[in-house]
Symmetry: C2
Subunit: 253 residues, 2 copies
Amino acid sequence: MLSKNKVKYIQSLRLKKNRQKNNVFLAEGEKIVQELLLDGTIKIMQLIATTSWIETHQPSLKLLNETLIEVTESGLKSVSNLNTPNKVLAVVEMPQLKIEQESVRHGLSLYLDGIQDPGNLGTIMRIADWFGIKHVFCSTASADLYNPKVIQATMGAFLRVQYHRISFEDLTQQFPDVPTYSAVLDGENIFKTSLSPKGILIIGNEGKGISNEIVSKSQYKIRIPAASNHGAESLNAAVATGILCAFFNQQML
Amino acid sequence: MLSKNKVKYIQSLRLKKNRQKNNVFLAEGEKIVQELLLDGTIKIMQLIATTSWIETHQPSLKLLNETLIEVTESGLKSVSNLNTPNKVLAVVEMPQLKIEQESVRHGLSLYLDGIQDPGNLGTIMRIADWFGIKHVFCSTASADLYNPKVIQATMGAFLRVQYHRISFEDLTQQFPDVPTYSAVLDGENIFKTSLSPKGILIIGNEGKGISNEIVSKSQYKIRIPAASNHGAESLNAAVATGILCAFFNQQML
């Protein structure tokens, strides 16, 4: 049973300040919870699940009794962030992240300068996961990874890709030898450029792009060429990220 | 002033059956309406705008008096589909579409087999616009272009890219010489394949992919290779479309 206090507590975690105060976040839905359980490195503080979910999964669950809370479907609805609540919701401890020096030095990383849309951030985490990118760095103006909508949109990628908030200056001071690439509208045509197999790819805000300061501090400027007869102003930020990551990856293989 | 009947009528256009019955759809927001006015080929049946919008735009507007309805911000809110209503909303006649034979024969087109998410469809229309693709074909199971959320997400691309509902069989009978490419998980690695500069690229449903029937009828199977250390199951459908279109376009340039 969910006590009133527990309902209040879980609902309060929709707000960033409450997630940070309690050092936890919400992960919802069968697929994401399944991945959490398999992964095993992230601590589950509370698992709120319907009777039918528990019946199917209990034999393999290694949780303390007080961690697991059985609820009805309407009980789940009272704490869910989904339009169609999905059997199980976990309150999860925020992991301690540590930058893997070697993968930043020798692989591709992303730097998000102000990505705001939760769906875009989640989709970018999925792209990073697909292409084996370990680190997504971001400026202070970027969306919070632990927003329930972002966690949902990552489809579990948050378990494998690290999201670090760090200023671009601090990042490049830590990794002075890693080339930096700004994705801009007036850069070099990626169809005709050879990209280094390592680097930090910078993606800008959905409306404003990358800040001038960061563009000027980055070493290279690249662009996805549009067809000559196009009328479009821009590509969606996550789509542009996907295309650029694919071209970097092509160089690596 | 918006009459009660007019409010009811505009609200009714959120439903596909009502859009079809009246042969109109809604386009909302300053940017999209601006593009509609500049484009000039699509008939605006009704323009509902705030006083401040009208004051700025009236000198250049060539609309009949009965077409333009001045509203307050709360009046606009009563008919808007946006969380933050945006000064102007148009009721627009659905255009008569005609397949441009030459561009299907010699360029790249898309076939969407059951894309369901309005945001994905809008984003795919934007991708097509960027890469100069004239035609996005779709199966009956695909989302409706004239859903207000889709129109919004296209950012105006619906003015330049045609969306046709047609069975895959009918399409390939009309264009027997155009190669067809299914985007699947077990296709040829696009990093190592040479793609024809013309073709029909098939994108499947977000969850289920392309139907077996269509895969078996298409000539080529292609995939976006994942990193060997990846944990991801899939890329978002619009992101995959963007990556594949970029690789096709690279071959054309």
